[in-house]
């Protein structure tokens, strides 16, 4: 019955549905873009390494004058080793130092940051080597002058030639290139992650930079739920090793990358909700469109309502007839809208610069919303129809 009535006014029904179609489509497309942005952010943060804790030295304090964070020199390689030995639930511990140097090969030169790391650094930062190999444990133990270079450095010094096996000069010391890193592109902070030269930690500390301390220790925790526990254990251990007692301030910082990730994903969730609710407004407007057309339909069919009532239709019968009609508009509009929204977000994902993610939740929510809107905005016209006086309605021309 509802279908016959809707088919009788194909164009009108279609235009009414269009409001719902656009509303549902917009909600799905917008939310999928928002979710895409979120997954991009989460991915780029976790590419820094997931479940990461970063220990860095605290600031100096000379007679009340405090230096910059990380300016202290008391975070030692041994501290990193102790963390690895004594604290549970840790996958990798990677102490590192870094400083900028002029890198020379033949008549080419390039300024880049040189990092001294242990082999664990590769796992912790999910690095890949495109040719050659990474710094090994024995390189680190023997303080070998070997280097793994990022692709930006490789291009600038070697052009298209293969750098592996060549010697480069860092701070006038010869280093043998043993590998080239797979390109990681820009980080989420806009840094070129490929502009780097990696050497063994001990080589960097003792032969290149003459440092007896490390500038940071990256720690990968095995389980995201253990982050807080591990962080606390590290703090206790380091206070003990650095002989800090009582209420004295730590001379180091332990930062938790998860909290950064949480903040970022909260921000992007807000963004998604914002986008979704703006699109949701068009869904409500579509609902008002349904109400409008149902009002017209009730007026237009006054006589039909009169006939039905004369033949014995009750309030409920008439109410249901019109409600079903508006719900059918909502349902069909919702289904087409889902198709449109999914199609749109796939197009945006394919041709736009956005990652889009379609999850069942916004699809379900916007669909039930469209059905609900059909119901809600159908109630008033349906009541109006059902309350008509049969004598008046039969007399209506």
């Amino acid at each position: 019955m509802a279908f016959t009535a809707l088919l009788a006014n194909k164009m009108r029904s279609l235009l009414t549905m269009l409001g719902i179609i656009i509303g549902v489509g917009a909600v799905i497309a917008m939310v999928s873009v928002g979710m895409g942005v979120k997954s991009d952010v989460v991915n780029s943060i976790s590419s820094l390494g997931s479940n990461m804790l970063i220990v860095s030295p605290g600031s100096t304090n000379r007679g009340g004058v405090r230096g910059a964070a990380g300016s202290r020199t008391n975070l030692k390689y041994d501290d990193a080793k102790a963390i690895k030995e004594k604290i549970k639930n840790i996958d990798f511990v990677s102490p590192s130092v870094s400083r900028s140097y002029q890198i020379v090969y033949g008549n080419q030169n390039w300024n880049s940051s040189v990092m001294g790391v242990t082999p664990e650094y590769m796992s912790i930062r999910s690095l890949e080597v495109s040719t050659g190999s990474f710094v090994s444990e024995s390189d680190n133990n023997k303080r070998n002058r070997v280097a793994v270079i990022g692709s930006t450095v490789a291009t600038n010094l070697f052009g298209t030639a293969n750098p592996v096996g060549q010697n480069i000069r860092v701070n006038n010391q010869p280093f043998k290139v043993i590998g080239v890193l797979e390109s990681k592109g820009q980080s989420s902070m806009g840094q070129d992650q490929d502009d780097v030269v990696i050497v063994p930690l001990t080589t960097a500390m003792e032969r290149l930079m003459a440092m007896d301390y490390v500038s940071s220790v990256n720690i990968q925790v095995s389980d995201a739920n253990k982050m807080d526990q591990v962080q606390e254990d590290i703090e206790v251990l380091l206070r003990q090793r650095h002989k800090i007692i009582g209420g004295k301030e730590d001379d180091f910082n332990v930062r938790n990358m998860t909290s950064l990730m949480e903040t970022m994903s909260q921000t992007t969730t807000m963004l998604t909700i914002l986008l979704g609710s703006i699109a949701g407004i068009s869904l409500v407007v579509g609902g008002i469109g349904i109400m409008n057309i149902m009002m017209v339909s009730v007026t237009e069919r006054t006589r039909e309502i009169g006939i039905r009532k004369a033949l014995g239709a009750t309030f409920q019968n008439i109410m249901m007839q019109f409600l079903i009609e508006s719900v059918v508009i909502g349902v069909i509009g919702g289904i087409i809208g889902i198709g449109l929204g999914c199609g749109l977000s796939m197009l945006v994902g394919k041709f736009g610069n956005f990652t889009t993610v379609i999850t069942p939740l916004p699809v379900l929510v916007s669909f039930s919303f469209s059905v609900g809107i059909g119901l809600f905005f159908g109630i008033y016209p349906a009541r109006k129809a059902a309350k008509l006086d049969p004598i008046e309605a039969l007399r209506y021309e």
């Binding site: 016959t4 009535a5 009788a8 006589r303 039909e304 009169g306 006939i307 039905r308 009532k309 004369a310 033949l311 014995g312 239709a313 009750t314 309030f315 409920q316 019968n317 049969p390 004598i391 039969l394």
Partner: protein, 238 residues
């Protein structure tokens, strides 16, 4: 069967009052009327006489302000809207001047419509609707929409619809008003044969030559029944 004639409709002291400004106007001013089962009564009267109001009350489309209306032994004067709807559905068949068929559905579906609201399942609906379409000689037009039928055919569909729920009374409001002479004759023949089969019929008309077909003629004037005659008398409406 009892040999006492059963009274289908019994009106006592029916009044219908309307407020116009501060004044109360009585459209019906105390009507007492009994209609026996199987009677074919013609209700006549000039416009403004209260004839339409009386018909609306008899057809359970409206409620009297005062008075009692017993239909088939049941008091229906002050029922709720939904109870009135149910009463119309089960006890009254309507035939209107302008047919009042739904234009988007077929003749068969139109005939079956009262059964939808009576809660009859669709197979039985179709079967019963088809039977009554056959009775009015339109079985071959079952799939046609009303606008594909002539005026006389439409009115026959409407009559089939009025009969489909086997009601106690048939209310016909100027059923031949929009028809040509030939169709009028056909329709009146159908009413005659329904009357012979024992149906109670109330026919509202202003044409004396239609009213003479009835077994009883009632004249309404100024909200009261002024004349109540048997068959054969020609009442002057004006």
């Amino acid at each position: 069967m009892s040999n006492i004639e059963k009274i289908t409709i019994s009106l006592r002291g029916i009044k219908k009052l309307y407020k116009v400004g501060n004044q109360e106007v009585a459209a019906l001013n105390g009507i007492d009327l009994d209609i026996k089962e199987g009677e074919f009564a013609a209700l006549m009267g000039p416009s403004g006489s209260g004839k339409s109001t009386l018909m609306n009350i008899l057809g359970c489309l409206d409620r009297p302000s005062v008075g009692s209306y017993k239909l088939d032994g049941q008091e229906v004067a002050h029922l709720s809207d939904d109870m009135l709807a149910r009463t119309r559905n089960q006890k009254i068949g309507f035939v209107f001047q302008n047919f009042n068929l739904l234009s988007r559905i077929s003749a068969l579906e139109n005939v079956a419509l009262p059964l939808v609201y009576a809660g009859v399942d669709s197979d039985e609906r179709e079967e019963r609707a088809m039977y009554f379409l056959e009775q009015v000689g339109l079985a071959d037009r079952a799939d046609h929409q009303p606008n594909e039928l002539s005026g006389g055919q439409r009115q026959r569909v409407a009559i089939a619809r009025a009969l489909v729920n086997d009601p106690q009374i048939i209310m016909a409001d100027e059923p031949t008003g929009n028809l040509d002479t030939k169709s009028t004759k056909e329709i009146m023949e159908i009413f005659q044969s329904m009357h012979e089969k024992g149906r109670t019929i109330i026919l509202v008309t202003h044409e004396p030559d239609i009213a003479v077909c009835a077994s009883r003629q009632l004249l309404v004037r100024d909200g009261v029944i002024t004349r109540d005659e048997g068959k054969g008398v020609v009442l002057d409406v004006v």
